[in-house]
Assembly symmetry: D2
Homo-oligomer: 347 residues x 4
């Protein structure tokens, strides 16, 4: 019963097998192979638009380099206070940007509020050199706490960003989970709502190591080959990433794994809702479930083999002194038996 993170799962069998298939033969290195190019073209189909796509090795690299691509001297990029970029990447975005900063913006349930973002940006008026100047807005979709921005919310943030002349970046480490949650197309959730650049994550949803930076305006990517290479993220055998994405997109595997993962989260949430010994901190919208459990129950679950983490209590949530907010993450590899096993333990 492993619910620690979706990155505790290995790779989906179809993806692992495709690496065997693609392991034979010779092909140009550094992203120049036919397979690399075919998979890049596949991204343009998925997004219904010519996109510039660059494979990288980690989500942290995708986020850091996407922000670097739009950075400028004295730059300040805006993100939610709990965003992965500011809380969990050891300062990598700032390091790759050479010192430009991230500015935390608040909002309930992991989502930046438009008015709070507006106030934050306006703290950096363009002509006031001492403060620095806005460089980008970055949102996480799905968020760190398993919620999802609606299309209208994304559009409101991108409109605000554009009013200040800065791009909107989306950290899509759990892009597929958000997409199937909203039931919209990849285009609708991104460039049609004003997203300029996307970290497209495959790793958490069934790949070994497959992430991509996607530019919706390819002109803005002209420096990116150097940005990526300089950052040690151009893989010589790049086709091993391409092969993962090839299998990921084949027969909509990526949507199927995301739907499964989200369904397991919903099922698990149901158990917490119906149990007299637990309640939900908030409703899951993707593949993460945050129940509030008695401390005794937490210990008991762990003793019986459930793996999950406690989670910091966000402002405004009522968690008693004998309770713990916990995070359960589901993945393509989560089974109904695992989920129902938790259900039985808490019944």
């Amino acid at each position: 019963m492993y619910f620690a993170s979706d990155n505790w799962a290995g790779a989906h069998p179809d993806i692992a097998r495709n690496l065997v298939t693609r392991s034979a033969g010779f092909a140009p290195a550094y992203g120049a192979s036919d397979l690399d190019k075919a998979v890049e073209a596949r991204f343009s189909e998925v997004f219904e638009r010519d996109v510039a796509v660059f494979f990288v090795g980690t989500g942290t690299a995708a986020n850091s380099l996407a922000l670097t691509a739009y950075d400028r001297a004295g730059g300040v990029s805006f993100c939610h206070r709990e965003a992965h970029v500011i809380a969990d990447e050891c300062g990598a975005p700032e390091y790759f940007m050479g010192g430009s900063r991230l500015h935390a913006v608040d909002g309930p349930l992991g989502r930046m509020e438009t008015d709070k973002l507006k106030a934050a940006i306006e703290r950096f008026p363009p002509a006031f050199v001492h403060g620095g100047r806005p460089a980008a807005v970055t949102i996480t979709q799905a968020t760190e706490v398993g919620t999802v921005y609606s299309l209208a919310q994304i559009e409101a943030l991108s409109t605000l960003a554009k009013e200040h002349g800065i791009p909107l970046h989306m950290d899509g480490a759990r892009f597929a989970n958000a997409l199937v949650s909203l039931g919209v197309s990849a285009a609708e959730m991104t460039w049609k709502r004003g997203v300029d650049v996307l970290s497209f994550g495959g790793t958490k949803n069934g790949c070994w190591c497959a992430e991509a930076v996607v530019f919706f305006n390819p002109d803005e990517a002209k420096d990116f080959p150097f940005v990526r290479k300089r950052a040690a993220q151009l893989f010589s055998k790049s086709r091993f990433i391409a092969a993962q994405f090839e299998a990921y997109f084949a027969d909509d595997l990526w949507l199927k794994t995301a739907r499964h993962s989200n369904a397991m989260a919903t099922r698990l949430a149901g158990h917490f809702t119906t149990s007299p010994n637990a309640r939900l901190g908030w409703a899951p919208e993707a593949n993460e479930v945050f129940p509030i459990l008695g401390k005794g129950l937490v210990d008991e679950l762990k003793d019986k083999g459930a793996v999950f983490y406690a989670w910091p209590t966000p402002a405004g949530l009522d968690v008693g002194p004998d309770e713990t907010l916990c995070r359960f993450v589901t993945s393509f590899a989560t089974t109904e038996a695992d989920v129902d096993g938790i259900g039985e333990l808490i019944a």
Copy 2:
């Protein structure tokens, strides 16, 4: 007949298959799995010493972060003029070090000469703040031009480095090829000769994407978890690198693939030596062969499907106006038939 580079080969079947084997089940992320730990322990066996080992995704990352680990303000690191770090990494080492510099040192056949290194280091006397100060020496083993430093040469360089209080780094992108060429142990070619830190490459010798930074004095690695994470090189599903190395070391696969690769280079060199239409620029010592070919023959070979690159003529080599120095690289996937195919074409 693909001789463009050893990174044009895919993955060795044993390694690709092991990724299928290891794709199932849940395991702690970010390098904390049992498999990660077992493979790390395997490195200590291979090197006959407790080492601190950190998996990363690319050779450029391994080199850049190893140098970053030992860098200091105003740092100058010394490498051969043709070294990968200075010629082929788009400035990544300097970028990760935040601006510290690489200083080119000369020497024939890709190897720094001790006296030239000495003169280079002495250009930066410790108390002269304007010049900067020595930070590290980095050598490539095997070199960029398919030669190998002898144990005595490595020791001479490390002795010199130590006299100036700086560490010796080895870029081992083709470590295995050098090792089997010298016929010594991994310990003998590294820490027993004074190497402090190693970029251990698996990618060119049969892995998809498996590189490691190996510290021979683990105390010097205490900051490295942060150096790596900050650089976006800590992989969530780190076990996919571990799994590659697991198969790489099993039954000495890595030595077998390197021996095969080197043998193919020797066989290919034989063809160039015996052909009336070609001659060797210098003798191969690992898995790269540098023949001097007439321009007409170059075109003919390419027309007939041979893939290889021209190479810049180093100082002191006599290449006629109608000739081209070329590079042929062999790998675990090179077959005798491929090699002999070249032989027939140039006969």
Copy 3:
């Protein structure tokens, strides 16, 4: 009636004149002159301890390089939310540190609270690589809002920092104003309370351009000559900074100018207190006064030639919709007539 900032004043006549005196003759460059060395020695007398002192050109440079000296990979330094380093230096500290971060800590009246700092540091447990790790604590003395840390408060913060193995930096852009406010010695306000490194500012208190980084443990400064030179802060005619400090310290000029400046602030605060049209936001403890004025009065004062800035309302302060919080800064050049001029206008 100029109260915009203490850096709107020029240089104290004694200091300007000393630059004429010291303009003649030849002397070794880059800080090696007898005058440089004599003034460095003077710092050790002022601080009653052997200190390592390095002249730099701006307060931003002093702060940025002091933090750089103690930084490490993944570093997070802690400062008050309104501190100059995080609010007014365009990201310079993060830029010079190559991406390490500043983390805002709250507390009333510009002073970090010990328990809030403790909670902030504990968000970065040493072994959790994803968050980064504590690198330094930096306090501003006097603070950005004209208050002063007591000796006990400084000691509490330094004790906490030491418990976490990190140094305490003091931004002393208004060091002299704080010192005479507390009526203690320079030693008592710094290393005797656990301060490890100080940005010692002369510019705001009567110099043209004279700042220094002071290490109380000279061993920790051994890399700093390179840190400073690499940052373009080693001045060839360094004696022009030394000459300013020479006059600054002569006959305790620096303490006299600071006492005058603080006295003018106290006198000005008296006017605001006694006026029926104004009230103080909080009591001044150095050379900055923050009155709350009606918007009409603000306009009237400006019309009549008073120069000062509005200031963002801190949390917890009650400022009405028709009122504005303002900042008035006094300096060595402020006259009683200027101060009383304000008094008359608001009477």
Copy 4:
């Protein structure tokens, strides 16, 4: 008899006195004062064109930030092997650029040769991501060895740079000395020959600390306020730099001091030429003289109070085993008596 460097001189009396004159009164900080603006306008007159000018504190800062302004990911800037930026700034340009590189180009007497520059640039073809890409060319005028580029040479280099889409930067630490040597206007030596950005130095020619970055196309300077502030080079009492430049330009003081300095060099060179005990390494064209002296004479001169440095022997210069190449630098403060004193000692 001080000939160690032109930065061993203090400040010209007119400049030192103007700091007294300008020390009184209040004025907006951070470059917004009337004096700052007037002096900025004076630069446009001097250069006969609207220029964007930014004061900074050191020549290293001017060079580093000018290059940073035009840098891009993977950037490689080209300079002479002996240039100050690569040899004497402790890596500051690379540090401020965040790791972009300087590439050394050869040429006799401190001047890059056009064909060597062409070959160097062509080593970085635009589409070859592994090498990086050209970002700028930087020349030193006058050079490090007291020679001067002719207008035709500058134009040839700028033409070549423009063919590759990169700007030409001029390090003018000794700009005035070169200008009066050529006897041309500031416009003719810069933008009329294709120079895009200039480090304009006042310090070596009589100021205390006055350097400026001058953009000949002000549109290219739009980010520079942030580049400068982020680099800790925006001085709060900026008018102290403005005041130096005010006196520097008044009555063409800067040209007079440069003419004096150059004349002293010529006079000194005459002594070396006529002495039987010395000869010139090459003819001085600005304010630096490089004689070849017998080692005994070097010692004797030093014993008798002459201060000067030995200098590394450049390739191609014949210096005997008992001889030393030396550098003598003259300045506004050098007297005929000092020069003739050397003459007598070597007669």
